[in-house]
């Protein structure tokens, strides 16, 4: 089934290859080696072959490399690693660094400037694990740091307000926000690259150590090392490289105040809504079968379900609870809405697959590329008919930036 709306517009770009590393602590690998591993993986995955010299430009995304890895000039490192001397640039947009690098690469392809580019996202967080809680706060307003906030604290303030405004003292709201973790862990069990390939229960989440009330350890995505890479090509020549390119039919980015405090709402992300509004023209969330959603903390996944309009404002937790409770033991646990099913984070999302910050946005593209091509292996989503449309949602900070990309198997 081809989506009629998508078929009217020329796609931004086509994805012809993708690679990634394991996400976990990688003691012996330098960040540029991780990026190289993912990038070369992407090159080698191209069905009809791709030479390094076919790559005309590189777009990298990373957040903390200067502070955590004492590394700068990523293009210089990657020129050395790849052995090519082409235009390269690095995008920093906190947790949306990968998504933003991908967005920039799509623009570059769409502009006609390049025919084939490499997009890579990476982060090696464990090099500076003793300072990582402090350094993640670079993505927040300094006043928030000075108020003692941590990143988990900022999301906890959102979660507390969400529970206050929408939870109605119903215990199921607390449980639903734990079920999101359980669901994502369940999805990661068969993902060979994932950091946490084990099931957890609601009680595990609710008994895990408090990090920032009401956020507990198992509501949080982990500290990870890893990289992901994809090859983007001009859609008109994509079939020279593969019979099954995955098309980027829409890509949008939107921004908002860096500070959570000055936002219009603590229980929704404006930049997500703005990016989605533009990206989904003519589409609704019910048209998607899978979505990669930025679940850095479970509250963020719940807010996405409302920001995207999939569930009514303030009601996501009820539907999450009902979806989880009606789960019958299949490989994936879909969110259900009036007969429609949406599988969110089929490989485990940030929570269980891992969250090497700058790699995440590209890893989401990788996951959807593999899923749409039915190449996801043991965690392949199985639906009636073909998988056609996927959505990737990547945010930076507490919502200071969001990218949304719509991927389609056919156009």
């Amino acid at each position: 089934m081809k989506n009629t709306v998508c078929s009217k517009a020329k796609p931004y770009a086509a994805i012809i290859g993708a690679g990634r590393t394991n996400f976990r602590e990688q003691w012996y690998k330098d960040p540029e080696k991780l990026l190289m591993e993912a990038g070369i993986g992407a090159v080698e995955s191209v069905d009809s072959g791709l030479r390094r010299r076919d790559i005309q430009a590189c777009f990298f995304g990373s957040f903390l490399y200067q502070a955590t890895n004492k590394l700068g000039l990523v293009p210089g490192y990657m020129a050395r690693e790849l052995g090519i001397n082409i235009p390269m640039n690095t995008t920093e947009a906190a947790c949306a660094s990968g998504g933003s690098a991908f967005y920039n690469a799509c623009i570059a392809i769409k502009s006609g400037m390049y025919d084939v580019v490499l997009v890579g996202g990476f982060e090696k967080m464990t090099d500076g694990s003793s300072k990582i809680i402090d350094e993640l706060m670079f993505a927040a307003d300094p006043h928030e740091f000075d108020a003692g906030f941590t990143f988990s604290g900022l999301y906890a303030a959102m979660m507390a307000r969400y529970i206050h405004d929408h939870g109605h003292n119903d215990r199921r709201c607390i449980e639903a926000l734990a079920q999101i973790s359980c669901k994502n862990h369940h999805h990661a069990v068969n993902n060979e690259y994932a950091q946490f390939r084990r099931e957890i229960t609601v009680q595990d989440v609710l008994k895990s150590p408090l990090i920032a009330d009401p956020v507990r350890l198992l509501h949080c995505s982990p500290i990870s090392d890893g990289a992901a890479g994809v090859i983007l090509a001009n859609p008109e020549i994509a079939k020279e490289y593969t019979d099954t390119p995955i098309y980027v039919v829409a890509g949008q980015q939107a921004t908002d105040d860096v500070s959570l405090c000055t936002r219009e709402s603590l229980t929704g992300i404006k930049s997500t809504r703005l990016a989605l509004d533009k990206a989904l023209k003519g589409l609704s969330m019910e048209d998607f079968q899978i979505a990669e959603v930025h679940d850095c903390f479970t509250i963020e996944e719940a807010m996405f379900l409302e920001d995207s309009g999939f569930y009514e404002r303030g009601k996501a937790w009820e539907s999450v609870y009902e979806s989880y409770e009606s789960y019958k033991g299949s490989k994936h646990i879909p969110y259900v809405k009036e007969g429609a099913e949406l599988i969110v984070n089929p490989g485990g999302g940030l929570k269980a697959d891992g969250h090497p910050v700058g790699a995440t946005g590209v890893r989401q593209i990788y996951e959807c590329f593999k899923q749409l091509r039915m190449e996801a292996g043991k965690h392949q989503v199985e639906v009636d008919g073909d998988l056609n449309l996927a959505l990737c949602h990547n945010i930076g900070g507490t919502g200071g930036i969001a990218t949304v990309h719509v991927l389609a198997r056919g156009i």
């Binding site: 402090d134 003692g148 941590t150 303030a157 507390a160 206050h164 920032a212 500070s259 405090c261």
Partner: protein
């Protein structure tokens, strides 16, 4: 953080400064120079929330803090709304240590909060110390919110004196076991983010509220202390910046002052200077602020460790709406090595029983008796006598030796409940009796600073005091505050040494 970053942050954070669109009223924190709604040509005013009251709109308990805040353990951080959401700021809740178990954060949403000037963190032991007013205590807890109303002065006195005062005593206390502490029953303990500078700001803020004067008319500030956080860098400048003392000009203020040191009489020594300055035409200022502030230092298990407290008292001197004229002054000084701290040493040393006689008693009693002689007044002409209070016995004994009766001494012996505040000791005792004073009352105050010296002052209370009583948070109210909280010895030592 670097020095220039610190300076930029100071300009915003000390007063919670924001910018407000003149046309639509939309307010921005941190400040920006145009309004998003009205456009680039909008006119913006600077506003601040230093004296405001906010509402907590969401919060969390930070249980795994950043390295910079590890010293505070667990604490609440939240988002505070002013003016019903017109502006929102991040803030940390201070004076509150959350319990170990999970808190229901619903209970905190909607609570009123009051900005507090507190220490954030330091750049190690050698680097800068950072302060901010983006710290809040719960309304209805220990620290009450007071409105700062600036009124036009009505009367001008020929003789200068006190126009307002404020005392700040921390929320936390430690109890002494019986038979130690020479009559000191309990003592004030600083929270982990307090120090001499933050006490001084709080006391100064209260003095301005009590006096009801515009801070821009305060042209000098003396801050007496022996525990300022920096060896070199004036706490007075921090107080000046936070309280906006003097006319503002490009982020600075047309006012002066110094930190001074003379053990426990570092502040009171400047009372006469303050009074003299406001009467001196070349000075050109209306008011002088004098603050005595100390996180009184003592080594672990030293006898002093059972008498020291923490807090500050601030006095504003001027000639308008004077509540107590300064009528007599007698200083007395000698080089007496009874108590000292060498540069670089953390705690003072003292001469044990010799700190009483010939040090304390010789100077205090000499100053007291000489002041009575100079003034021609008899002890019976004085309603209250106040002496520096290293403990509860010394001031009582000195006053009795000078001819005073128990009922004249009793009201100033707040040391029993707050401990020895060093530079803040006699000023706080003076404030305690001013809280009770009526027009016409005479008060004699004798300070003492080791090293050694005393000075005595006689004040006469005017009818203006009655107009200002209700603007004061009295020393008694602070001593008896039902929200004060007791801590154990280890907590007391930990918090004290962080300051």
């Amino acid at each position: 953080m670097s020095e220039p970053m610190a300076r930029r942050r100071i300009l915003v954070d000390y007063r919670i400064q924001a910018s407000r669109c003149v046309d639509c009223g939309r307010t921005y924190f941190p400040p920006k120079f145009f309004c998003n709604t009205e456009g680039r040509r909008s006119r913006m005013n600077t506003v601040d929330y230093f004296n405001s009251k906010g509402t907590l709109i969401s919060s969390t308990v930070i249980r795994k803090p950043t390295n910079k805040f590890l010293h505070l353990g667990s604490f609440i951080s939240g988002i505070v709304s002013f003016e019903e959401g017109n502006v929102q700021v991040p803030g940390r809740i201070t004076d509150y240590a959350p319990p170990d178990g999970e808190l229901d954060m619903n209970d905190f949403i909607g609570r009123g909060v009051v900005p507090r000037f507190r220490r954030l963190y330091t750049d190690g032991f050698q680097g800068l110390i950072y302060y901010s007013s983006l710290n809040f205590s719960f309304e209805g807890d220990y620290y009450p919110h007071q409105r700062y109303v600036k009124s036009e002065p009505a009367t001008v006195n020929e003789r200068p004196g006190i126009v307002g005062y404020g005392v700040y005593l921390p929320k936390f206390r430690i109890k002494n076991e019986e038979e130690i502490g020479l009559g000191v029953v309990e003592r004030t303990v600083p929270f982990a983010d307090e120090d001499t500078t933050t006490f001084a700001v709080e006391a100064g803020k209260r003095a301005l509220i009590h006096a009801g004067i515009d801070s821009k008319y305060v042209k000098k500030c003396f801050l007496g202390s022996e525990s300022t956080p920096y060896a070199v860098k004036p706490s007075m400048a921090t107080v000046c910046q936070a309280l906006q003392l003097g006319e503002e000009y490009e982020g600075g203020f047309f006012s002066g002052g110094v930190d001074s040191q003379f053990a426990c009489k570092a502040a009171t020594d400047h009372f006469i200077d303050a009074a003299a300055l406001v009467a001196y035409s070349t000075f050109g200022g209306e008011y002088v602020m004098v603050i005595g502030s100390d996180n009184a230092q003592a080594a672990r298990n030293d006898p002093l460790d059972y008498t020291v407290g923490a807090g500050a008292a601030s006095f504003l001197f001027g000639r308008r709406d004077v509540i107590a004229t300064l009528d007599y002054y007698v200083p007395y000084t000698s080089d007496t090595p009874d108590f000292y701290r060498r540069d670089g040493e953390k705690y003072p040393r003292h001469g044990g029983r010799f700190t009483g006689d010939p040090a304390y008693f010789k100077h205090v009693v000499t100053a007291l008796k000489t002041t009575l002689k100079v003034s021609g007044l008899a002890p019976g002409d004085i309603r209250f006598v106040v002496c520096h209070s290293p403990n509860a016995k010394f001031p009582y004994q000195a006053a009795v030796e000078a001819g005073f009766e128990k009922e004249q001494i009793e009201h100033g012996l707040v040391v029993r409940q707050i401990g020895n505040l060093y530079s803040g000791s006699s000023p706080t005792a003076l404030a305690a009796v001013l809280d009770l004073a009526e027009p016409g009352d005479r008060i004699i105050m004798t300070s003492y600073g080791s090293g050694a010296g005393s000075e005595s002052y006689i004040f006469t209370v005017t009818k203006e005091i009655e107009k200002k009583h209700d603007r004061s948070i009295s020393v008694k109210q602070q001593i008896e505050n039902p929200h004060k909280q007791y801590v154990d010895y280890n907590t007391y030592r930990t918090w004290k040494e962080l300051s």
